[in-house]
């Protein structure tokens, strides 16, 4: 799925289930710089609620969007600080 965001890096967690999408998103965000955007591609439907909850409860990240396309769930997370 193409994105309107300037994605710095893409994290592929297809086929992985809870808690992997969240934990790997957090690890990938740690390796990025402020202003970078991480694209997370998952097949876990729970990732829609989980990534939103994680982004809400975590300082320094902002959830830009979440797109559901068939079995694929794509999330864009910006590192803000």
């Amino acid at each position: 799925m193409s994105s309107e965001y300037d994605t710095t890096e893409t994290l592929d967690v297809k086929g992985q289930s809870c808690p992997m999408p969240i934990v790997k998103t957090k690890q990938a965000i740690d390796d990025l710089d402020a202003g970078d955007v991480l694209e997370v591609v998952a097949t876990d439907s729970g990732s829609m609620s989980d990534i939103q909850g994680w982004a809400d409860g975590t300082d320094g990240v902002e959830l830009l969007d979440q797109v559901e396309d068939g079995d694929l769930y794509t999330h864009h997370v910006k590192k803000t600080e």
Partner: protein, 202 residues
């Protein structure tokens, strides 16, 4: 009406003449310093509040009971929380490098099993039930117990092994995964629980 006038007149008549409302310069200075001190300590409390803490006590060592503390612990670490998982009794087997790879699902007394207890009690049923669950976990893309332990340790989750239980089970400190905290007891666990926002017993 006349009462109102009276009280106004009274208040106007002797403002500041009450000895209790008079301060000398030294007293005022001391009060200002006290206010500054209190403001600073309030600021400290505010910043300390950002860091959430969670303590989980893991007491069970069956295959299915190993998952909840590991999943919650590693996820909480992803939130940036300070996480302690205190493993005691059978929960210790989760941290035991060899035993953690052979944790069993109990078929007996498990109402979710599709067979009656009399059948579940047949030798080999636990192994079969565990194997079926492992297959499902693999197909679902769920992490293994070993992966979750490594992941938790990588993320700074403090996996603690109860010293009393280590000795009770006659385990050796080297039996555990690298990075596991040993030499801790109930007092340490209670201290973490007292400081935690979330405490769970699994």
């Amino acid at each position: 009406m006349s009462t109102d006038n009276q009280s106004t007149t009274d208040a106007d008549a002797d403002p500041g003449s009450d000895p209790e409302t008079e301060f000398d310069a030294a007293e005022l200075q001391a009060l200002r310093e006290r206010v500054d001190e209190l403001e600073e300590s309030i600021a400290d409390v505010d910043t300390g509040d950002d860091q959430k803490k969670m303590t989980i006590v893991a007491t069970q060592g069956s295959f299915d009971m190993a998952y909840p503390p590991l999943i919650l612990g590693s996820t909480a670490a992803a939130f940036g929380w300070d996480v302690v998982v205190f493993h005691t009794f059978w929960g210790l087997d989760i941290l035991h490098e060899e035993k953690s790879k052979n944790l069993k699902l109990s078929a007996v007394g498990n109402p979710n099993m599709p067979v009656p207890n009399a059948v579940a009690a047949i030798p080999g049923m636990d192994r079969m039930a565990t194997r079926m669950m492992e297959k499902k976990i693999d197909e679902n893309g769920t992490a293994t117990i070993e992966e979750l332990i490594e992941l938790s340790l990588d993320q700074g989750v403090d996996l603690q092994a109860c010293q009393m239980t280590i000795e009770l089970m006659e385990y050796d400190e080297d039996d555990f995964y690298d990075g596991v905290t040993t030499g801790v007891g109930a007092a340490t666990a209670l201290q973490h629980m007292a400081e935690s926002d979330i405490q769970l017993l699994v």
